[in-house]
């Protein structure tokens, strides 16, 4: 049964130095507040996994949390590049970053294999590309029935998967809707899981197309309103496009980034900011319950 706890307690319990940690959320429902809590607790040597590392992974990489990244597309959607990610790859700042690079189809299938309890997945992908030459986790395989040459990718089984959802009930059953990406597979593939939610409600009302994760499939739930900001939570708040734009100049400069980190992430632990109003730039990113009691 999922235990409902505070975000700092959940991260302290579940995320350890050296772990393989996946934060998923495909543009929608990105668990940003949880990522920033990992920075605040100064986790190190993580292998970070994510199909689309974007701003929150740029922040975690820039803060020195990661030694390796397993991914398929790293960018600031609609804006450009991730400059902390680039600085780590091109100049090993603040620490070197090893890459394990896939395509979206490959990553999605690796989670499917992980959730299915299988050692690998098969797909018709990567052929003719330069990716297999640089990524050891892409191997050719022959179909035993047709002889077709296909590709095998190993299961992903993170130590911890963290996702964000709209709601949980008091028993810890989780409900999410809209674009739900690869979150179900990522949670079921993981040894431990944390779901941050917009709100904990007495009872989950059925929703068309919703994904429900039963409480017994989740390790911890933490209530973190606006915990996906600057991404969005359908029916709660819109994507904060200005934040994504504003991130670009902050992330280009090591000093500007370090200042941002001190002011908006580390300062949050000592003096939690009041609830964030709608909109706001990267300065409004501190989760509302940082350092709150459980």
């Amino acid at each position: 049964m999922a235990e409902i706890v505070s975000l700092p307690d959940a991260v302290a319990d579940l995320v350890h130095d050296g772990d393989v940690v996946a934060l998923e959320g495909f543009t929608h429902l990105i668990p940003v507040a949880a990522g920033q809590e990992i920075i605040r607790q100064r986790r190190r040597d993580l292998t970070l996994v994510r199909m689309t590392p974007d701003i929150v992974y740029d922040q975690m990489i820039g803060a020195g949390c990661a030694r390796k990244l397993i991914f398929s597309w790293g960018g600031n959607p609609g804006v450009g590049s991730l400059h902390r990610f680039r600085d780590a790859v091109q100049h090993a700042w603040p620490v070197p970053l090893e890459l394990e690079e896939h395509s979206h189809a490959g990553m999605a299938n690796r989670y499917v294999a992980g959730a299915s309890g299988l050692p690998f997945a098969v797909l018709r992908g990567y052929r003719g590309t330069d990716l297999p030459a640089h990524t050891a986790t892409i191997k050719p395989i022959t179909c035993p029935f047709t002889g077709e040459q296909l590709v095998a990718v190993p299961a992903l089984n993170p130590d911890v998967t963290i996702v964000h959802a709209q709601r949980a009930d008091r028993a810890g059953n989780v409900q999410m809707w809209g674009i739900t990406g690869v979150q179900k597979e990522a949670v079921l593939a993981a040894r431990r899981s944390l779901v941050t939610v917009e709100e904990v409600v007495a009872e989950l009302e059925p929703r068309p197309g919703a994904v429900v994760l039963p409480t017994w499939a989740v390790t911890r739930v933490a209530e973190v309103p606006r915990g996906a900001h600057p991404s969005y939570a359908q029916d709660y708040y819109e994507r904060d496009n200005d934040y994504y734009q504003a991130w670009d100049p902050i992330s280009r400069d090591r000093d500007a980034f370090t200042r941002w980190l001190d002011e908006h992430v580390f300062a949050g632990a000592a003096s939690p900011q009041p609830a964030v109003s709608a909109g706001g730039g990267p300065g409004a990113s501190t989760p509302t319950n940082a350092g709150s009691t459980s």
Partner: protein
């Protein structure tokens, strides 16, 4: 998907005045003459590119849409001549009908207007991989003479790149499994290179027969639209060949912006100039999306 913003500088092409068609005997030239007559405002090379790319999409097609230039073109097509174009985004939105240009492949407006929202494993495994999708519409940081795409690294050393680009996203399998691929890219010697530094997504490999040898079911890139013209693979050599020049663009400009010895079609045509209707629709779309 590839992000055009991460691509090295592209030529700043000034607004190009409409040029009358040079081949009055062809259908496209006739259309150009008519369009030119209808077009009362100047346009930019970027606008011509998006409009030419939109025209390539036909109603009823299903189109797997990359973010950036492809998304602009696909949404413009839906607002002009192809209202029943089926837009598919890798976030799992099938049949999205956004009323404004999405900034990402997973904006809320895509999910809210979609015929169905499915998981990411489903969109790749059930919809893309079996070949259900007509056109994959991609961007590129580098494109080579055989239409191979690089969105991974600039520089010859993967481990120590000159520029680290976002990576593959959905593109390798879109290029594998869609029935056809269209590419839209701003053209310069930095983007149009003899051979890409890294093959992220396969076009026509190193020439004829390569796609079949690799077991790639789709036809690969059949159309490349740039800010200077339109390219199609030669039926025999599979090399990208200039088949249309945009209005106001000279052949030498295209040669100067191509990193290999450019092949030019014997029946080189002029792209019909943008109509006022196309320009108004495009500007409304990009203004609303910004």
């Amino acid at each position: 998907m590839s992000q055009s913003a991460s691509v090295p500088a592209t030529p700043a092409t000034p607004a190009t005045p409409a040029t009358p068609a040079t081949r009055p005997d062809s259908a496209s030239a006739a259309a150009a003459a008519e369009s030119t007559a209808n077009s009362t405002v100047a346009w930019t090379a970027d606008e011509m590119m998006s409009i030419a790319a939109a025209r390539a999409l036909r109603g009823g097609m299903s189109c797997f849409v990359g973010i950036g230039l492809p998304s602009t073109a696909a949404n413009l097509a839906r607002r002009t001549h192809a209202p029943d174009l089926v837009l598919i985004y890798e976030s799992g939105c099938l049949g999205a009908k956004p009323d404004r240009l999405p900034l990402s492949i997973g904006d809320g407006v895509l999910a809210e207007t979609a015929d169905a929202v499915v998981s990411v494993p489903e969109v790749f495994n059930y919809w893309l991989q079996p070949g259900r999708i007509d056109v994959g519409f991609l961007g590129a940081a580098q494109l080579d003479r055989f239409g191979n795409i690089n969105t991974t690294v600039i520089g010859s050393d993967y481990a120590d790149p000159a520029v680290r680009l976002p990576g593959a996203g959905g593109a390798p399998e879109i290029a594998t499994s869609c029935r056809e691929v269209f590419v839209v890219v701003r053209q310069s010697r930095r983007t149009f290179v003899e051979q890409v530094d890294f093959v992220t997504s396969v076009g026509h490999g190193r020439g004829p027969g390569d796609r079949a040898r690799l077991g790639l079911p789709g036809a690969g890139p059949v159309l490349v639209i740039t800010d200077l013209g339109v390219f199609r693979p030669d039926p025999d050599t599979r090399e990208l060949t200039l088949t249309e020049l945009h209005p106001g663009v000279e052949l030498d400009q295209v040669r100067a912006a191509t990193g290999w010895e450019l092949a030019v079609a014997a029946d080189l045509a002029r792209t019909p100039a943008p109509t006022d209707q196309e320009l108004i629709a495009l500007r409304a779309l990009t203004k609303a999306g910004s």
